[in-house]
């Protein structure tokens, strides 16, 4: 639906611009200036906003992440039927939006997290095209606890956990990482 709206939007924008270009010499009347306003000011800018939203949405999809071959085994690890693999369990049980599984668990909450994710993405693209990816991939820095807490903080099962209750302050401040107790690494097939 959005795709076709943007395709039609692009066609309309180009058609209006072509008409305008052909009539540029006679932009003296009010109606011709209205055409210029519509063709150059309104339609392309609205279409641009739509495209930015569309591409942002597309880049958050797991299918975009696994386009690079370095990521394909990580994408496949989400499909493993294993109760011990937390990424696979989150994916299998629908605990995260499956279409945006990578983004959901690798982006800190808030505007800072979005910007950070974009910058890390740029770095990854640079390495993919112009560098050499290491055999064993590691995440950038430490895995932030705030990512897990986005969903788990309010969950009754998390709050009822005896260990969680005992060290709740350390968990909430990020002093203790979820990874200290939970093995969340992707299980890659050899």
């Amino acid at each position: 639906m959005v795709f076709w709206a943007l395709v039609i939007g692009a066609a309309v924008a180009v058609a209006l611009l072509v008409i305008l270009r052909l009539r540029i010499r006679s932009l003296a009347t009010r109606s011709e200036r209205a055409l210029a306003f519509l063709a150059m000011g309104v339609v392309p800018c609205l279409w641009l906003l739509g495209m930015l939203g569309y591409t942002d949405h597309a880049m958050k999809k797991a299918s975009f992440c696994v386009r690079c071959h370095e990521m394909q085994s990580y994408g496949e690890s989400l499909l493993v039927d294993d109760d011990e693999s937390l990424p696979a369990v989150h994916y299998r049980d629908g605990l995260v939006d499956r279409k945006k599984a990578c983004y959901a668990c690798h982006t800190r909450p808030g505007l800072g997290g979005i910007i950070e994710a974009k910058l890390k993405g740029l770095h990854d693209v640079k390495v993919h095209y112009f560098g050499e990816a290491p055999d064993t991939l590691t995440i950038h820095g430490e895995y932030p606890t705030s990512i897990c807490l986005k969903c788990h903080r309010e969950a009754a099962s998390f709050q009822a956990g005896t260990m969680h209750q005992a060290m709740m302050d350390e968990i909430l401040t990020g002093e203790t990482s979820c990874l200290d107790c939970h093995d969340v690494a992707h299980e890659l097939e050899d």
Partner: protein, 70 residues
């Protein structure tokens, strides 16, 4: 020396608008490519370049609306 204001007001309206229209057509076509492919390098090039061209075109129209109208 001609100031920027003088330079802008003496530039033919139609020429500026024509350049803006051309930039916007190129920008829309460039960005429309992203509807059909999500190749990361293409996204990296087409998205900012297309957006820039469309905004340059919109600025040309703004210039025309402010200085170009007689």
């Amino acid at each position: 020396m001609a100031s920027l204001g003088n330079l802008l007001t003496t530039m033919p309206y139609a020429r500026v608008i024509r350049c803006g229209v051309t930039a916007q057509i190129a920008g829309v076509l460039l960005m429309a490519a992203l509807l059909f492919t999500k190749m990361p390098l293409l996204v990296l090039v087409c998205l900012p370049l297309g957006a820039l061209l469309i905004l340059v075109g919109a600025l040309a129209w703004v210039w025309g609306a402010i200085w170009g109208c007689e």
